[in-house]
């Protein structure tokens, strides 16, 4: 059983989707339990895999028993789980599970007659994302990227707003362009190496003869640009803000934390496992250029976020900045930069989830999607506000949240590699985030028009008696929305406090791809 875990983690949501279609159409109430149990199975598998991998090293799984004894590597479909993607599997399944809980009754309200379809797409999206993470085959990766993209286009378009449809169309065009670029790149690689298996390609490319090969060079650039479109790396971010802010709230909670992060993972995987860091950082030597692009992405994302009046739009532009963090970190070409980038994938997934759930609750219960409509929120929804504040502090980078420690590693990488532009961009972006979030916290705390002076001394405790009872928790959303938020907030803090074991696992993963060390040593 336990050796089948890599397959089960994918099959659970796949069959879940099937079952939802079969059973859920008659009675919409059956959808939710199916969804939860499918994701719970995946979540259990992910945890088990993480434990297994961190104890006994990477797991190779050959789908259908096409193992290397009978046929050469690359003919069968291979799944490979190392410490890096085991961590990501846990993140994806946790986020999906929390979002699923959040969607309880919510999804039904937002797409009344399409609930089963919605949940089918939800689970297919999980299959796609999990598949991207576990696959060891460059072409299968494309297929799974398409699975996740196609489902996400539909999920975005499901919103009742017509703007959502337009955004989905825009997203579809850009997403398809990105995927095509990726496929084209894989084609060039296949032309040169004759295999699609990541490890096999890596082995062939290790030959110094390929160091200056223009075919490999073109392949890399195409793949990189394709992935950059998928992750909304500045200036290729145009599709993201509308797609994520005009879609149904459950969709935004699922897509915003996961899609861009998984794409960053793909980039790191391509860099380290297919091409190898030696090739990427030394033969190509674009490290400085890409870090500067990341600097621009961070600054542009922050400034654009500052210009927004809608809460969700603002969060979307923050994602653009955060993607800059991760791309920059990965391209710093040293160990700690890469550790920081990977850690930030995990941290940012939960931070983003936290903020999106909170924002969606605000929007639902206050009918306020603009920042200046959030007055007096802290009094009305203390728990939701707490969740939001935790997310905000993590984005600013206040210890001991996860956001602080990802900055810690990224800054360390930046200082060690002497990329001062990147260091400054990170700090500036932290400060901009502080401004952004305290602007909101201020409005939520003070109200829009604070009283002119404090001479309005009134003893609130005396008349708090009756009013207090109703307001302390009465204004909160449903438990099904608030509980996932609080769990996420707790994860954001715990992931920060106990970051050392997580980083140990990341370092273990990077030992398997020794290249970062080699490149750093060569500097």
């Amino acid at each position: 059983m336990s050796e089948q875990l890599p397959a089960i983690i994918l099959l659970a949501p796949l069959f879940g989707a099937l079952l939802t279609g079969l059973a859920g159409n008659r009675d919409h109430r059956r959808c939710f339990p199916i969804l939860i149990s499918a994701l719970a199975v995946s979540f259990g598998c992910a945890i088990a895999l993480l434990v297994q991998v961190s104890q006994s090293g990477p797991i190779d799984y050959f789908v259908g028993g096409w193992n290397t004894e009978r046929v050469p590597l690359g003919v069968g479909i291979q799944l490979r789980i190392d410490a890096l993607n085991a961590l990501l599997l846990v993140v994806i399944t946790t986020v999906a599970l929390l979002t699923a809980v959040y969607s309880f009754r919510r999804a039904g309200e937002e797409n009344t007659e399409k609930t089963p379809q919605f949940y089918m797409l939800f689970q297919m999206l999980c299959v796609g994302l999990l598949g991207i993470t576990v696959t060891a085959d460059a072409f299968n990766l494309f297929v799974l990227v398409e699975v996740s993209s196609l489902t996400s286009y539909a999920l975005v378009a499901m919103g009742s707003k017509s703007r959502g449809t337009v955004a989905a169309f825009n997203y579809l065009i850009m997403g398809t362009v990105g995927a095509s670029f990726y496929l084209l790149g894989v084609g060039y690689l296949y032309m040169q190496t004759g295999t699609l298996n990541m490890a096999a390609i890596h082995e062939i490319l290790a030959d110094p003869a390929f160091g200056k090969s223009s075919t490999v060079f073109v392949a890399f650039i195409l793949i990189l640009v394709g992935v950059w479109i998928k992750m909304a790396f500045f200036p290729l971010y145009g599709w993201l803000p509308n797609a994520y802010s005009y879609c149904p709230s459950t969709t935004s909670c699922l897509l915003a934390p996961l899609m861009t992060k998984v794409s960053v993972y793909v980039m790191i995987r391509v860099m380290l496992s297919i091409f190898g860091a030696d090739w990427v950082f030394q033969s190509l030597g674009w490290s400085h250029t890409v870090v500067w692009l990341a600097v621009i992405a961070i600054l542009a994302g922050s400034v654009l976020a500052l210009a927004q009046v809608e809460l969700k739009k603002m969060l979307c532009y923050l994602i653009v900045a955060e993607v800059g963090y991760m791309v920059g970190g990965a391209w710093l070409a040293n160990h700690w930069g890469m550790v920081g980038a990977i850690y930030h994938i995990l941290a940012d997934a939960f931070m983003t989830l936290c903020l999106f759930i909170a924002a969606n609750i605000f929007i639902k219960h206050c009918r306020a999607d603009r920042i200046d409509q959030l007055e007096g929120l802290f009094k009305r929804m203390p728990l939701t506000s707490t969740g939001f504040v935790v997310g905000a502090l993590a984005m600013i980078g206040v210890p001991p949240t996860a956001g602080f420690f990802s900055k810690w590693y990224l800054l360390r990488g930046g200082i060690e590699s002497g990329q001062w532009g990147y260091v400054i961009a990170l700090l500036v972006s932290s400060l901009v985030n502080a401004v952004l979030f305290f602007r909101i916290i201020e409005i939520a705390y003070f109200g829009k028009n604070p009283a002119e002076s404090h001479d309005h001394a009134h003893d609130e405790d005396s008349h708090q008696g009756q009013a207090g009872e109703a307001t302390l928790l009465g204004g909160e959303g449903r438990p099904a929305t608030v509980i996932p938020l609080l769990i996420t907030a707790a994860i954001v803090i715990l992931l920060g406090v106990f970051n050392a074991p997580v980083v140990e696992i990341i370092q273990q993963a990077l030992e398997g791809m020794p290249v970062v060390g080699a490149a750093a040593a060569a500097r």
Partner: protein, 496 residues
């Protein structure tokens, strides 16, 4: 080297007030229980700190690791109580008891709103303060430093009006801006330079690091400006801005906890991060000395021109904080000792002054120095305490302020910095110039014509007057019984 005792006492001392915060919220309608919770927490906290005192005075240190660090990955989160941390914790936790009493009198006297929130965040702030005092490495220090900035924001903006919003913005902009912009990169740079060591134990962190004078200067400036709670110019404006807070907040947080956390961090940077030897070798501390000296003089001059009593006290605080920074930057053992003592002496003196300002406001609604004529007759206890507080901050016997100033001047003489010695003397005169007119006006000027002559004594509520009398007496007692302070500070300077 000093031996280490492992004990969870520092953690509990730190948690005592943090755990009180939910209880305070829970009892939000049982006013008696709510206030009682604050007191119980304050006494428990003080008791726990006292329980650690014998261990510290016997020359040992207490350590407790909260979260293990993995070598080379990230520093652990750990507590380490030494003489300096003990001194600061004693001051903060003992004054919290007094301030709680005062806060109840003040907040009820003025019928302030949202008192539950006020007391809850007050308790959280105290936890953060003790966290800083007991921090065993730079990471832990930074963690609690940030926690304190954020936990005090709702207190500073308590009135929730326009003025509070502006004050709160300035407050956070300066404190968060500098800590993220300067202190955080400095922290990481230190981590890299020291090869993954941020601990305050043993030799200074950078003692054996390869550091040029230019790098050293930039790092030192980044730390000193990064911990801008120390209020060195040009990053001082948050302090007068924070005076919009209710007076108990100004008293405890902005004369004791928050600002002292700032100078505490600076002292740690000098003694435990760089180490006196390295700084002497690099010769960069003089830059800080002169910035601090500039701050001392200029803030005293500004204080003279402030008519708002609390603002005058705020600028006085800025000057006194720079005394401490200046002292430690002189790098001589006596000056460092004086700096550490001044944390306690100034805390007692300044908290008395703030309490008085608040008591005057509660009793008469007066905020400006020019309105205080004749007040000595109606509020003799308050104004008497004010006089004692002013004497202590100025350094007039028989108050504690004299002792720490004596050590600071002694240290300046040791360091052969006679120009800086003159700064201390001149600024002491200036302190007198901006404080004693207030006392003179209260006791010797007749009340203005327009006001109805009030017969007899009309003091603020007892809950306000009692605390300020206690701290005033404390200031005097510190002059006669400074033994414990001297002992604790000697532990620190002896260890260097």
């Amino acid at each position: 080297m000093d031996s280490v005792v492992h004990s969870s006492l520092p953690l509990w001392a730190c948690l005592a007030s943090l755990l009180a915060a939910p209880a305070i919220v829970l009892f939000r309608r049982e006013l008696f229980l709510r206030e009682a919770t604050t007191f119980v927490a304050a006494f428990v906290k003080f008791g726990l700190v006292l329980a650690m005192l014998p261990i510290i005075t016997s020359g040992k240190v207490i350590e407790f690791t909260l979260v293990e660090g993995f070598g080379g990955v990230v520093a652990p989160i750990l507590f380490r109580v030494d003489g300096l941390g003990m001194l600061f914790a004693l001051v903060a936790s003992s004054l919290w008891i007094v301030t709680s009493l005062y806060a109840i009198g003040y907040m009820r006297g003025l019928h302030e709103h949202s008192q539950t929130r006020f007391f809850a965040f007050f308790a959280i702030s105290l936890s953060a303060t003790l966290g800083v005092a007991f921090a065993g490495n730079l990471l832990t220090l930074y963690l609690f430093y940030e926690m304190l900035s954020l936990a005090t924001w709702p207190l500073v903006t308590h009135h929730q009006d326009k003025e509070a919003r502006t004050g709160g913005r300035t407050y956070l902009t300066y404190l968060l801006g500098t800590s993220i912009g300067f202190a955080l990169p400095a922290l990481i740079f230190t981590w890299i330079k020291s090869g993954g060591d941020l601990s305050f134990a043993g030799d200074a962190i950078l003692a054996s690091a390869d550091l040029g004078p230019a790098q050293g200067l930039i790092l030192l400036l980044a730390f000193c400006f990064g911990f801008s709670k120390a209020g060195m110019m040009p990053f001082h404006s948050w302090l007068p801005g924070a005076m919009v807070a209710p007076t108990p907040v100004s008293a405890l947080l902005h004369a004791v906890a928050v600002v002292k956390v700032g100078v505490f961090c600076v002292i740690r940077v000098f003694t435990a991060v760089f180490g006196v030897d390295l700084l002497a070798k690099l010769g960069v501390a003089t830059v800080i000395s002169w910035i601090a000296a500039f701050t001392v003089i200029v803030s005293s001059l500004i204080a003279m021109s402030q008519d708002n009593l609390k603002r005058r006290l705020a600028f006085s605080t800025i000057g006194q904080l720079s005394y401490i920074v200046l002292g430690v930057s002189l790098l001589s053992a006596h000056a460092v000792q004086g700096s550490m003592m001044h944390i306690a002496m100034h805390a007692f003196g300044k908290i008395t002054l703030f309490f008085c300002a608040g008591a005057i406001f509660v009793a008469t609604g007066k905020k400006y120095v020019s309105q205080l004529s004749g007040l000595g007759k109606t509020m003799p206890f308050t104004m008497g305490a004010f006089a004692i507080g002013a004497m202590s901050v100025t350094g007039v016997p028989p108050t504690g302020g004299l002792l720490s100033k004596f050590y600071l001047v002694w240290g300046a003489a040791d360091a052969q910095q006679f120009a800086l010695l003159a700064v201390y003397l001149v600024s002491s005169v200036l302190n007198g110039v901006y404080f004693f007119p207030v006392v003179y006006r209260a006791f010797f000027k007749p009340a203005p014509e327009g006001e109805a002559a009030v017969e007899g004594i009309r003091e603020a509520p007892l809950a306000c007057v009692l605390p300020l009398s206690i701290t005033a007496v404390g200031s005097v007692l510190l002059f006669f019984f400074p033994g414990l302070l001297l002992e604790l500070t000697k532990l620190m300077t002896g260890a260097q």
